[in-house]
Symmetry: C2
Subunit: 468 residues, 2 copies
């Protein structure tokens, strides 16, 4: 066994024995090096291992700490309801939620926005400045239908499925949302049946609703993702045309599928002549490094349509996404033309330069660390203020917690929250079934400033009071 692995194992045992208590500061890297007579690099590697296992977290310029009591809260239960294809009926609740978010003085705990106040985004402003100073007339013209070549090349460079494709296999879009919408329209039509993870994020359900597709919700495990036996069952019983999955950093649960599951899902869909729509939008924020592989990287047939964007990894305002449409490329190009003809070149150029100049990976590295720390802080807060028996997901990346609380009077809950100007997305936005009535998504991308800390406290206390 490698030296650093031995050390990390020793430390792991100490944490489990309680030699280092939950939340306690660990010895410095230097001290570990001295104690085990190893280099600083080896000591550092040992701590990195423990970080990956989510036993400890780092605070810059301060050191490493034991993640508080993570074993305490259980994972949300997997719901095992009877599956059948249904039309989505809800709509306005999600749009209403989007509108409320816009009002001032409201604390939104479920807003899926990344933290953009980070030094690692400083170069983005510089690139914007450079592009606008260069006065390249190209910026004011129509983009090609496929999207700016310079950006497609950079996206190709950062793809884990790079060997399988070229920059010409990529089409840029205005967002991950648009990528998904184009993908769904490219491989399904009318009231076709589409399988989705359950819970599914509201943006996806609303898009499927808008397009008139029927959906079949597949139970999804908060650690290993979509239940493949149930996918198989769905394929056998219904004419499922496509499966939409988020193999890495699922939204809302944060889980990632084991590689072996990805392989099996691809086999299943191949067997049934269906397509896979792979939502890869949060994968750059997987706490594991290098990032877990895509299903696309296993796909030799062009059956997988990969959808992504920089909205969550960099900033929503970049409005730059992409799609790797495989054999659906012509269809996707047509649909893009129908939707808005062509994209904006300015921001595509800015993003291409940001990537070209090497700012992307350092930024991701920083954000992974940052979100991993914030996850601990938010978990701790939820655990200490929510009712007993609350269950919490253990995200392997991204920035959302999926929380299952004891049953409450939801009318009462929403009333109190409204009075306190706190809003949160409840489970009913994530499914057409009634299975997630006692669930919430809490986003932990933003620092725990007092207002937000207070919001979670109010939410927790209200859940206790409204308990049935």
């Amino acid at each position: 066994m490698l030296l650093y692995k031995q050390i990390s194992q020793t430390l792991q045992e100490k944490i489990h024995r309680g030699d280092y208590l939950s939340g306690e500061k660990l010895p410095s890297v230097r001290a570990i090096g001295r104690e085990h007579a190893v280099s600083l690099t080896t000591a550092q590697l040992a701590y990195r291992e423990l970080e990956k296992m989510q036993l400890i977290y780092a605070v810059p310029k301060s050191g490493y700490f034991v993640i508080p009591d993570k074993s305490e809260a259980l994972l949300p239960k997997v719901v095992n309801y009877i599956q059948k294809p249904v039309h989505i009926e809800q709509w306005n609740p999600t749009i209403d939620f989007l509108r409320v978010e816009e009002r001032e003085g409201v604390t939104s705990l479920s807003c899926a926005v990344p933290n953009i106040d980070t030094k690692t985004l400083e170069p983005l402003w510089q690139e914007m400045n450079m592009v606008s100073r260069r006065k390249n007339r190209l910026m004011l013209e129509y983009d090609s239908l496929q999207g700016l070549a310079a950006l497609r090349e950079q996206i190709h460079n950062i793809s884990d499925h790079k060997p399988l494709i070229t920059a010409d296999d990529i089409v840029t879009t205005t967002s991950g949302h648009q990528s998904l919408s184009l993908a769904i329209q490219a491989c399904t039509q009318g009231a076709d049946v589409v399988a989705v993870e359950s819970p599914a994020f509201p943006g996806l359900l609303q898009t499927l609703y808008g397009l008139g597709r029927k959906i079949i919700e597949i139970p999804t495990d908060p650690q290993t993702g979509i239940d493949l036996d149930r996918v198989q069952e769905a394929f056998e019983r219904w004419p499922v045309k496509a499966v939409i999955v988020t193999p890495t950093c699922n939204n809302p649960m944060g889980c990632s599928m084991p590689d072996i599951h990805k392989q099996r899902l691809l086999e299943l869909t191949t067997q049934h002549g269906a397509a896979i729509i792979e939502n890869d939008i949060l994968a750059g924020l997987a706490y594991d490094y290098p990032r877990p592989s895509t299903i696309k990287s296993l796909d030799n047939e062009g059956r997988v349509i990969l959808c992504s964007s920089f909205s969550k990894t960099i900033a929503p305002g970049t409005r730059t996404g992409w799609i790797v449409p495989g054999k659906y490329k012509e269809k996707v190009m047509h649909l893009k033309y129908l939707s808005h003809c062509s994209g904006e070149i300015f921001m595509q150029q800015v993003m291409a330069n940001f990537l070209r100049d090497g700012h992307y990976f350092p930024h991701l590295r920083h954000m992974r660390q940052h979100y991993s720390e914030l996850q601990c802080q938010y978990r701790e807060l939820v655990e200490s203020h929510f009712p007993p028996m609350t269950r919490i997901s253990r995200p392997q990346g991204g920035f959302s917690l999926w929380v299952e609380h004891p049953p409450v009077d939801s009318r009462k809950l929403l009333e109190v929250l409204k009075r306190n100007k706190v809003i949160v997305l409840t489970g009913d936005h994530f499914s057409t079934s009634n299975c997630f009535a006692n669930h919430l998504r809490i986003n932990y991308a933003l620092p725990l400033i007092p207002r937000r800390r207070n919001g979670i406290k109010i939410l927790g206390e209200t859940l206790k009071l409204a308990s049935l």
Copy 2:
């Protein structure tokens, strides 16, 4: 009669009598002032009148000239075929055209792009620079679903239907193309019948094809626009759900509807419970000033959905459009959410500042003059190189000529053009019928550099050779 009108009438008579020949330079404003004993302003106004009537054109720092022989070429004929709703079948030709445009070394004579090499767009770069230097974190966030308030307010300010609406009645989009697509989806569905002007521009036909709507093509006069008797007939015979019109600066013909026609069209659609989709994208480039009014400005019921953008008036790269959806606002917001969630803030802010700082109207003034001059130059070139009996539209704004030439062997035509790397949009892109087999759209927004001049010459000579 006002003094300047008297003078302009005198000059008009002289031009018609041939006292000033086609293409000849007119006396200076100073000379006219002296001759008629009036102020320079009055003399200037007299010339402006003649410009409006398209009898003369101005060349900056040089003076006024008689527009060459505009009476020579006749207007394209109005085609009066039997109307019935049909599905659109062509698709790839237009996409193929878009792709060819991207290749280098090709001279495209039909590319609907404005001239962006103008000093009046210099402030746009400055605004871009200012916004990127200010580092406002808002730029990196999600936009509200309705679009940036600052931009909506500025758009409201420049609207001719301003008194009827507020900034809250405007939704921003990524382009005029998207505005139209959202509008069509908001007021029609499935295989509903939609009436369109004939010829109609390819982007519109392709959008309707993509959405699966049936269309009924209404004969359209190259001077007064859509034939209202035929609209009425269509309403009486078929379940027409919406009429899509470009009342000002029609594409491809450049005509504008008389005000009385706008009123009647609104009455007709009201009577039949249909919607009007008003394409206003080129109206800022009407040579008439102030710009002709919108149908929207007559609409008290919210029946008219106005679609516009800055793609043609400023630059396609701004990717900033808007829609005034009237009573379809909720539907349009939903559809916008489905398409791409929200827009990019950066360019919306740049455009808002460009308008706020007063750069919009001076730019339009400059472009109107510029395109009016270019129209004369292009007309002259077409008239001298195209076969006899060629008919040409007389645009009242915008930057496209609709040309009807004698019948040709179209296979031969396309072959020669391809060999010479000249591309042009032929009439079959503008209709599902076979009525425009001998038509072309020529765009005159770009200066007549030798390559383009040569392209038109080759086109004309080839048309002569390929004549049947």
